[in-house]
Subunit: 332 residues, 2 copies
């Protein structure tokens, strides 16, 4: 089974059929970039509709146990995530309420500064703010995974230090292998590892580079070097694959409602045309070549299992459990 | 054990201590009258804070099983309800999301016309609207009890007919015993009974009248006449007790944001001074006199059990279960 720690875009029935065909047992979808609480609830509502219409192919999961059960039933376990915290509208109490609505992964910042901390594109990194600290602790309490993928390095280090639960960089690469503001330097990855966290290696060309996108062997080689640095228990997959993205979607991702300019986000040129997927991942179902690619890169079967799903499951089990414990405790 | 189908106002730690002292094992609180979705989430958030600070006295319940377990542990099981549907902001999808946040009872209208139907104070009763029909069906699906207490009679009859699950008038009386727009005429109560629903008899003086408020024996006599009309399986308690209400609270209840006038709501004069509680229910813990009052009115022990909690539990078990089934089915 494959677990993909981050995908985005417009998922269709065909998307899930292709994910299933590619051996994906669990995927975290992006339920919003810039959306506030009501807009996010509208998006969740639409995902619920989608889920009811496609329950033969996918189901929403809230726990590691549910992920295993859904995947075992031949469907794609779907984790609801957001790539920003705008949905909180600065209310600490909304963390728990969105967790109740099924939110399981929340990135602290998208591409701009917010009340929680700095994005990787800010000239000044505030670090995790006072509110940010509250939010991380609350996410720990209610069982939402802290995602640092687009987050600035100082803010990331603070969040890793603050979080009692392991945190994730769901979709990025090691900056020493491909320098990019979105990729993570040694100190962040070291801290991530020391706090039992995980890096989901991306296949997104803008932050992976043409060289590692050339073949699954090349990409698996990048993963192997990352594992050498971080250890086999702290690396997973987070492709950052965008489904059915059109110019309007890139406009929304790159500009949101905060700028009349351009050039922001992972595209150096600010281009609004879709970037080509990795050469070995042109079709969604081709994600299925990854396990074999990892084996060819020298990983043992056990190591491949850790990278493809075992490490994610360990994190999910540890992070999501509070919600379950809370439900069990409610009537205790 | 006593189950009170509706209370409102500002609950304090002392309120719950007094409810417990009075033998209340379960109470539905009013989490909003006119509040939209974000305001309602803020109120839910504050209730969560309150719950954490007072977990020795109360806990939130989402199922009949949880009600029994919490009450058995010597605490007050608390059901989250609203007296209006403004929180939906006309989104059908929000019914499920608020159910996820713990909402278990929702009154279709408060004192004004809305997109779902008519209040008991409207000159023209639209009946249940097309959207209202969707909402009732969705409440059935996700396990939220339909409350018709302030709802107009035609809208109520439509909702009773539409709902596949039993519905409730959580806090009102039989209009033949005390004529008031808030009380329910024979045809509504007959339909309610035929569809396995329940009337929660109120002690609120404005809709109960001085005569029945004079003593618990007098009030139990009113209940006895109601049972003669509706049958022993369709009558419960819904005091409509307001805790710690001040003028600002009455202003909000009576006027909300929709009128510069006054005179609306259950007070014929539009008075904003608190109305005196029933003579036998001046202090909260005195609710504990009700079982003995019912026995003195001639009810058997088994009948008293039905009125004080058994009928509510039957309704809750039947209505709330879909949510549990849904959770169980998610991973199936």
């Amino acid at each position: 089974m494959l677990i993909d720690g981050l995908q985005c875009g417009h998922f269709t029935r065909e998307t899930f059929a292709d994910l299933k065909r590619g051996g994906v047992g669990c995927v975290t979808i992006t339920c919003g970039f810039w959306e506030g609480p009501l807009e996010t609830m509208d998006l969740i509502g639409r995902w619920r509709d989608f889920g009811r219409a496609n329950e033969d192919l996918m189901a929403f999961a809230r726990t590691g146990r549910e992920i295993r059960e859904i995947a075992a039933s031949g469907r794609v376990a779907t984790l609801v995530g957001t790539q920003n915290t705008e949905l909180l509208s600065n209310r600490i109490g909304f963390v728990e309420l969105f967790a109740d609505m099924g939110l399981r992964v929340m990135q602290l910042t998208y591409n701009t500064q917010n009340s929680i901390g700095s994005s990787c594109y800010e000239p000044v990194d505030t670090g995790l703010t006072r509110f940010g600290r509250e939010v991380v602790q609350e996410m720990n309490r209610v069982g939402v995974l802290v995602d640092l993928s687009h987050v600035g390095n100082k803010t990331s280090l603070d969040a890793i230090e603050t979080s009692e639960k392991p945190v994730a960089v769901t979709h990025a690469n090691w900056a020493s292998l491909y320098p990019h503001k979105r990729n993570k330097p040694d100190d962040v990855l070291r801290a991530l590892k020391e706090h039992r966290g995980i890096l989901g290696c991306a296949t997104y060309r803008n932050i992976t580079g043409d060289e590692y996108c050339r073949s699954v062997e090349a990409w698996a080689g990048m993963v192997a070097r990352t594992v050498e640095m971080m250890g086999i228990d702290h690396v997973g997959i987070g492709t950052d694959r965008s489904h059915n993205h059109k110019e309007a979607d890139y406009l929304w991702m790159r500009k949101g409602r905060w700028t009349r300019g351009g050039g922001y986000g992972a595209s150096a040129t600010g281009s609004l045309t879709p970037v080509a997927p990795a050469d070995f991942f042109r079709e969604i179902h081709q994600i299925g070549v990854i396990p074999e690619g990892l084996r060819k890169a020298g990983f043992s079967a056990e190591e491949v299992d850790k990278i493809t799903h075992g490490n994610w499951l360990r994190i999910y089990d540890e992070v999501f459990s509070p919600g379950e414990e809370r439900r069990a405790a409610r009537a205790a």
